[in-house]
Amino acid sequence: MTHKRKAAPIVGLTAAALVLTACATSERDEPADTGTDTSTEGSDSGTFKDVFTFGGAGAPVTFDPYYASDGETFRVSRQIFENLIGITPGTADLEPELAESWEPDDSGLVWTFKLREGVTFHDGTEFNAEAACANFERMFDQNEVGEGAAYYWGSTFGSFKSDAANSLYQGCEPTGDYELEFTISRVTSKFPAILSLTSFGMQSPKALEEGNANGIERAGEALAYPDNANNPVGTGPYKFGGYDEATRTVTLDRNDDYWGEPAKTKQIVIRAIPDESTRRQELQAGGIDGYDLPNPVDWQGLTDAGMKVEVRPPFNVFYVGLNPTNNEALLDLRVRQAIYHAINREQLVQSQLPEGASVATQFVPDTIEGYNADLEPYAYDPEKAKQLLADAGHSDLKLVFAWPSEVTRPYMPDPQGLYDAIRTDLEAVGITIETVTDPWGQYLDKAYTEYDAHFLGWTGDFNSVDNFLASFFGNLENNRFATNLQDFGAELSAELVAADGIADEAERTAAYEEINRRIMEEWLPALPISHSPPAIVVSSDVEGLIPSPLTAERFDTITVAGGN
């Protein structure tokens, strides 16, 4: 081979590189000032960094929260969008946000909202009554695909325009530039609290129209979102800066025209890091400034390493669901009570759950109106459990008892550990356990029909007993406890509907307290185990994070020390 021939590939490659370089130009406006790894610090504004980088557990499903039901979408949406009604930071209580006040008429069906003036969307469109009503009309008027995808509207308002008569939503009418009337079909404890759901954030009517917001379609066996879902325009403290799929990173830029206190940090970057241990390592290495739901076993280690583990007030319940579909023994109250008495929940909470967890006395946490403070926890009493089983004629009780693999939930940080502890307790009173474990998706389906006992739980969406109890037992024909087979099932569902419809708050609270008592003392359709506080962790440089019991933190109060 001659030297010429040897050099040919090198010359060719160099020429190709030159040609490529000539036709490629940087689309970047300026040299990077937003680097988030340890090698590229952000530029500074005094003593604080310009960028707060957060490790999410996944990428957002969509940037239109109306079609979403996942935490990662909502984490991003909460920074961009605001609702008529907000949540007081650090609590589950309602507070004015884009509406300054709201008032029902005497019937409780027509609500007048007075809106905040001087608010504009990120695209410059004015926020007013017309814009707010355009949003609700857009949510109501969905095509068939949209109806299937809009989980939160379906769960709260029931029906869409195609079945208007059965919808809680009956209309939104502007009665002035900054005043509107919102009509509902029946009195419900959920209203107006449901308007605080992230899914119902106010979007720019101009962006909705230009992005053909309701043009959601089917594409193969999945959905095709319209342009609006890639161009979220709200009124919140941060504007959408972009999403880079190649690095799975969302960038949010401060909205300098924000009507309220401007965000303290110029930019938020949310990186999708699905693996929890990688999130922890990134935090330790300085690649991110915080992440959600650290594993409780890491809390101490993270604290020792100088991180701030912010424990949220528990607003959830973890329960053992019982389902008599394939096991008639579970139709007997004594059997259900026996199982409950057999579980050493005090020990379980101390050994398996993080600090701040508590033994549940009922299906709702104690911060909710309607919580019954008089209820005592079922005592751990194996002898009583054996006696109850004997009385019921089920001393040889067998249970198909399932736990979900490959998943942790805020209320259930270590399903296998919890399962092992509970199974040991149940076997100690003579119950034969057939262990089943299934992956999460399959598990959720099978809990309806195939398992005698299973683990699940719930984190509240807003401060409402109904959000917990009606989700569990409200749908008589279709719930994971098959209460339709129990003699009390219909009564329980009816009581929940009746209490939900009481307009007077004090009267309603009393009704829910009584339902909570009857559920625990008379019916016991399932076994509430514990309330467990989920945590969020940030580096020692981060100040101003307010942990939310709803896991609904806004990042506009955050500063990150360390700028030059």
Binding site: L20, A149, A219, L223, A229, A246, T247, Q281, G441
Partner: protein, 335 residues
């Protein structure tokens, strides 16, 4: 030769059709479906059933298959339901594929650069301490699972000493994307900080991934060189008084490279398997990571595309290796 290539490509079409059919039915026989992942734990059976009906997932499988084939013939590969919901599955493949190629290329390059010279030297110094040490080293490379190597590398060099990034593919620098090969993009657009960041993110995953092909290439090179050096033509070359360099390059390495080339081609399959683990450990957004997340979320469209394209790439790479084989070995050409 051309006829041979055409025949192999025709076989590829057949393989793809059969595989797509198997994939379709296998995926749908898996428990749990995409709707669970889409609506989450709170959805009631009614809500799931409604969405399943909307997406046609309530139809009998053979009807779903006919619809699927119809869509494929129209060039519609379907949208993602979990990896990047709403995005075209093919776009996801095209976005993720360069990441895995970039990772694999660097890994294979590291493996070849390290393994062939080491294999040659080990063979030429057969029985020496160096020979034994490299054999033990390659055994470790084969025996230790790649995710463990990846985890160790990550812990020491990223978490403990902070020399390299823990995870990801590039820092958030607002880089321009052209080919989606980040190093190349950075060089082309003169965004050198972007290229440097991509390279830094590549070092640990590619070293971890390189351990498998390194061990195999090293052992094959060593064995092959040992075979070749005892051949008559090498002795003849030595007797002719040719320089060591000429003997090494023309007579030993060229002949010893045939099995090595084959093995490099075959390593592509194990590289993909290794990439799944490496990408997961380093949260590196390539094909492997997408395979894991699409499997978890039962993202049918993305899973189908990824597996099909992986199969196509595997077959094509083997074809290329076979052609290269013919280039290197004149005997193959004449057959």
């Amino acid at each position: 030769m051309l006829r041979y290539i055409v025949r192999r490509l025709a076989q590829l079409v057949g393989v793809t059709v059969v595989l797509s059919m198997l994939l379709f039915f296998w995926l749908r026989s898996l428990p749990g479906g995409p709707v669970n992942a889409m609506l989450g734990e709170r959805a009631t059976p009614d809500q799931k059933a409604r969405l399943e009906a909307v997406l046609g997932l309530d139809q009998p499988l053979h009807i779903q298959y006919v619809a699927y084939v119809g869509r494929i013939l129209r060039g519609e590969f379907g949208n993602s339901s979990a990896v990047l919901p709403g995005a075209d599955a093919m776009d996801i493949f095209l976005a993720r594929f360069p990441a895995t190629i970039e990772l694999s290329l660097v890994a294979v390059t590291i493996a070849i650069i390290a393994a062939i010279p080491l294999g040659y030297i080990a063979a030429r110094r057969h029985g020496s301490i160096l020979d034994n040490a490299t054999i033990v080293g390659s055994l470790v490379g084969i025996a230790v699972p790649v995710f463990f190597t990846a985890f160790l590398l990550k812990y020491w060099f990223a978490v403990k000493y902070g020399w390299l990034p823990v995870s990801g593919r590039q820092a958030n620098l607002g880089c321009t994307r052209i080919t989606k090969f980040f190093i190349l993009d950075g060089l082309m657009t003169r965004e050198f900080d972007c290229a440097a960041s991509a390279l830094k993110h590549l070092i640990l995953p590619s070293i971890a991934l390189a351990t498998i092909p390194f061990a195999v290439i090293f052992r094959i090179t060593r064995a092959s060189v040992l075979d070749v050096v005892s051949e008559d033509y090498v002795r003849t070359a030595e007797a002719k008084g040719l320089t060591n360099r000429v003997i090494r390059s023309r007579h030993i390495l060229r002949n010893a490279m045939l099995p090595v080339l084959t093995i490099i081609g075959l390593q592509v399959g194990s590289l993909l398997a290794g990439a799944i683990l490496t990408e997961t450990v380093f949260n590196y957004p390539g094909i492997g990571e997408a395979l894991v997340s699409s499997f978890r979320g039962r993202d049918y469209a993305v899973l189908q595309i990824l597996i099909l394209m992986a199969a196509v790439v595997f077959v094509l790479v083997n074809l290329i290796v076979d052609v290269l084989y013919a280039v290197v070995d004149p005997r193959v050409r004449t057959r």
